[in-house]
Amino acid sequence: MIVLVLVLPLLAAFLLPLMPGMLRRLIGPAALLAVAGIGIDLATITFQQPVVLAVGGFLPPLGIVFQADAVSAVMVVAVALLTLLLWPWQGDDASVLDRKQALTLILAAACSGLAVSGDIFNVYVFYELAAVASYGLASGNNAAAKVAAFRYVILGGIGSLLAQVGITLLYFRTGTLNLAHLAELAPHTLYDPLGMSAFLLILLGFGVKAELFLVNTWAPEVYATAETRVSGLLAGLVSKLVLIILVRVLTLIFAMTEAHLAFLVLGMLGTLTGELAAYRARDVRRMLAWSSIGQLGMAFVAFSIPGPAGMAAGLAVALHHLIAKPALFLLAERWGGSLASLTGAARKSPIAAGLFVLFVLSLLGVPPLPGFWAKYLLLTGLAAQPAGLWWLAGAVVLLTTAIEAVYLFRVIGALYTRDDSQESQPAVNVASSGILAVVLVGAGLASPILAAPLDRMAAQLADAPSYVARILPALPMPPDSTMPPPGPVPSPDPMQPPGPTQGVTP
């Protein structure tokens, strides 16, 4: 069942050009609905007991593993539903629309794959799949988008390269690629400068898509030139899935202080630079792009807190951003111009302006809305840590919230300035962002109920020993499998580095 969440969208993407007439428009949404259903079913199972699947009956240290815990299930549901909300329903040209829909489906499949993968090389492959699909989606239909997409491809290529070298170092030291097996071997083999550099390479490499500080320069260019739909998908969805992968690498393999500090420092710098750049931005779309860099930096800061408290805070920040940022991008679609051109827009489209205010308030953390709980968890988590960098991070979070308030209220001020002489503003389509607003307000109202599932997700994410225990030892053999458990070639002893260090000459 786990495999279906990535097979269905992938299959739909490849079948889409072959379908006749009406079916061609329906196959994508149908596949995504099916994935959402499977995801909800998975969630009901995994909140009790996480699921593990050994692909092809090959047992974990050698075979490839898919695993779904509560976080994966929630992420799969989020992937399917958010992709449906941001689905390209109509376009100017039928063949262009086909391509957009196919790429969006591939992106959804890769994101689901990232959520359930339990093997670092599979993660690399799904990451590349998501990257290539997003390059295609980002290179929209204007000339500036082509240049932005080229720069994005090059930066993404550098990121993949760094991640590949990092994975090479991991394999060199441990001889395995399975996340659980790596977690088991890490304390003996990876807690040294070489292991740390492998972690930093993987962090910076995969961090390109998670808009990590230093490798996030693509974001404002791409978000300003691509369709808002695509910006919403990249900022809301892809970045979160990559973030979850990085958190898994952190908590499972590199659960040492230095790695947590790397997360903390890069996140802090990302928050500070992102929000300051957003303060300087003069148009809504680039402002939102920089602000999403700032928010993701905040999520990195949250995940850097060791233990379940940090995981809960990080998940809250990430999930809140996953809902809020695509909605803001969608609302900004028709308001893409400078702030001055927004003057009086609230009178022309009052519902859109009201929704914009709602999301801005939640982003800032005004109490009844979920954004408040996210920041509350983050700040209490930071305050519970020993003084030092963590408290500095708390101060940075508060400072950037103030900066955020200044520039977001500048937009709201422009929206609600009275203005009689302007030409009419185009109407804004509020359906998708309206749905997201309902989810947001519902989450805010239901926050006492949502606390327990959030804690459960955080506990599963933080609990490395039980992750290892459920994947590695006694995985029951599938009854119909007659293959012997190891692959055709027994690999070298994983405790021994398989590389040239053995130095045996014949």
Partner: protein, 154 residues
Amino acid sequence: MSDFSLIALLGCAIGLIGIGFAGLVLGRNLFRIVLALSIAEAGANLLLILVGFRYGGIAPILEPGRTVANMVDPVPQAMVLTAIVIGVGVQALALALAIRARNAYGTLDMRLLRERMESDIDRAAGTTPDTSRQAPAGTRPLPPPLLAKREPLS
């Protein structure tokens, strides 16, 4: 195969990655940038192959009567195969985008392209750029206010 040649090969791999990164950072021509990326990828793939290498190892094909003791590690080879395929796809995509950018802006120079893209974005957004290469800070006129001034309401 001696230690020396192995060290030389490792040096080659790291050197290729270094050359590629230098080209990525210093290059201005789009095609050279793509070329630099592929050089760096070649270095990374060589590094990955060397990780799985064994002295005097044979190809990892299991046949009756052959022991598994002295085979090179097949896993890095599978990984390199995947990485090569991905790299080819990404390079093709990058070249296609470079052609499109060339057709749109008439140049392959990354800095010129970036300037023109920024000014296009600014024009589409209806804002003026707030920095300028021609006039350093202090000599250029102040940027326009963030919100346009309007007549006071009567």
